[in-house]
């Protein structure tokens, strides 16, 4: 069976390769950074298993690793590599030669994923135990990525070493931004554990005039959006704000339709996601991937959509939840 851990180990191998290439070109801070991350991915399974069994030591080592990663990132020693245009003539010539075949490996990632997802129910019916039942779509994505990499190697006559080198080059272009989604999820866990959410809900519900239905709708929508902006994740905001405002005021006091409150409340949070650098995988990682100079370029491009859509959500909530 293809387990999700194999996918993580493959990621770990890629980080290790990046570390080796960086060490070879004397970029020692980057080499250390990717090596620590690689260790977290190789050891992740063991850390989770040990923590579940009551042994906190591996998790504590992981925590020290997280702090080390943050210190390396914060020291400014990671030099972001950008894609140069030195090889533009070769790229043009190669594009000419290979033509539309170049699209095939790139499209293999979505299409192999799609094909395998469609195949899953049949495999299940035949009792074939091919893919891990946890995180199945990620295992499938991993398979699709490997397939696409093999296709790209065949097409461009590249060796596996070249594939790892190109992957490492892009990792160095992403630099610490690659890590931000995981660090923010970690922060979310710490905030949840330390009661930050409950404190925010307390403040929000103390501040609004509960008699007015419109004020409650506004407070719930704004609460979802603002708390999502702080946490970078609407899933973290939803239980906190809905328990603090949505349930007691909208549903309890004003008899709103619960399914509508849940669905549109979550989408108010999504408008917040479009506005916050805390949602790193959506708003900061693409800035690094596209090599943009303005760190907030993506947020700048989407804020008008987010604001207008947020207003639309409030109107929809007011209209649909109280029929």
């Amino acid at each position: 069976m293809l387990r999700i851990e194999y996918v993580y180990w493959l990621c770990a191998a890629l980080f290790l390769a990046a570390s080796a290439f960086d060490a070879a070109s004397r970029r020692y801070a980057s080499a250390a950074f990717w090596a620590i991350l690689s260790a977290c991915f190789f050891g992740g399974d063991a850390i989770e298993a040990a923590a579940a069994a009551g042994n906190a030591l591996p998790a504590q080592l992981g925590g020290i690793g997280v702090i080390a990663l943050a210190l390396i990132a914060g020291s400014g020693a990671l030099k972001r590599r950008t894609t140069g245009d030195d090889d533009l003539p070769q790229r043009r010539a190669s594009a000419e030669r290979l033509g539309n075949r170049l699209f095939l490996p790139a499209l293999a990632i979505p299409f192999v994923t799609l094909a395998l997802v469609l195949l899953l129910p049949y495999l299940k019916a035949a009792n074939l135990d091919v893919f891990d039942t946890r995180q199945t779509t990620l295992v499938v994505l991993g398979v699709a990525c490997v397939t696409a990499a093999l296709a790209a190697m065949a097409l461009t006559r590249a060796t596996p070493v070249a594939a790892f080198r190109e992957g490492s080059r892009l990792l160095d272009a992403l630099s610490w931004a690659a890590l931000l989604p995981m660090l923010l999820a970690t922060l979310g866990a710490v905030f949840a554990k330390t009661g930050v959410g409950d404190a925010v809900a307390q403040i929000v519900s103390a501040a609004i005039p509960t008699q007015s239905r419109d004020a409650c709708v506004l407070a719930y929508g704004l609460g979802m959006a603002l708390f999502t902006i702080i946490m970078g994740n609407a899933f973290a905001a939803f239980p906190v704000i809905t328990a603090g405002v949505g349930l007691p005021l909208l549903i309890g006091q004003h008899h709103a339709h619960a399914a509508v409150v849940g669905a549109i409340g979550m989408l108010c949070g999504y408008c917040g996601t479009l506005l916050t650098p805390m949602a790193a995988n959506f708003n900061i990682v693409p800035v690094a991937l596209l090599e943009l100079r303005d760190p907030n370029a993506v947020i700048r491009a989407q804020w008008p959509t987010a604001v207008v859509l947020f207003a639309a959500n409030l109107l929809l909530l007011d209209w649909l939840a109280f029929r």
Partner: protein
Amino acid sequence: MNYWPLLGVAIVVAGFAWRLNPALVVVVAGIASGLLAGLAVPDLLALLGRSFVSNRTLLVIVLTLPTIGLLERAGLRERAQAWILGLRRLTFARLLIAYLGLRQIVSMLGLTNVAGHAQTVRPLLAPMAEAAAGKIDPALDDNERERIKAMAAATDNVGLFFGEDVFIAFGGVLLIQAFFSQHAIEMDPRSIAIWALPTAIAAFVIHALRIAWFQRGIAKRMQAGDRARGVVPEHRDESPRVAKDETDAAH
């Protein structure tokens, strides 16, 4: 209630406002919040380490990088641009609006991973959008190119966010159901997904209009630039750069 851990939130806000390194800010905020809540240092370290590794899924996307890197070296972006230039009727707005609609529909079917910033935006959509905008104004400056690429990334985000919530087995929908179930309100996931549909439609309309306006903006700035340079607008279509690119694309 202990309000001191809220200082962690303040650290995040201040750190981002002062443009300190976000990775460092986030970890410092987590440590501050944990210590202010009275967590012992060993427990805090374990919490950091365990939460970090349990979110490994967020980085699986790096597995696309070797493929994308190899293909880029072999000229994928140049090929994507040539292809767009060969399609006369495919404008900037049509390209991005089609991508937006497709991304929403595919996400509604639960296939959120088939596209994304690493898989489709960097290698395909962004260079295509740049090429399509170049058909309107061949003399785009760096700022405009940056805004065009950012718009491509924004379009992917909007398509993903306001499609995935309409899929019944999506984590968000199940989270809503589980939350209400804990509070003794039972509901069918389908009824939650259905109420996400009006917002999905609104998101498509709003963002599609913005893309169309964005395209008008490019055209307007080009005309203004032309007047400043003294070029007569009617002669634009025969500008040598477009003509050359189109013969390239014919291969």
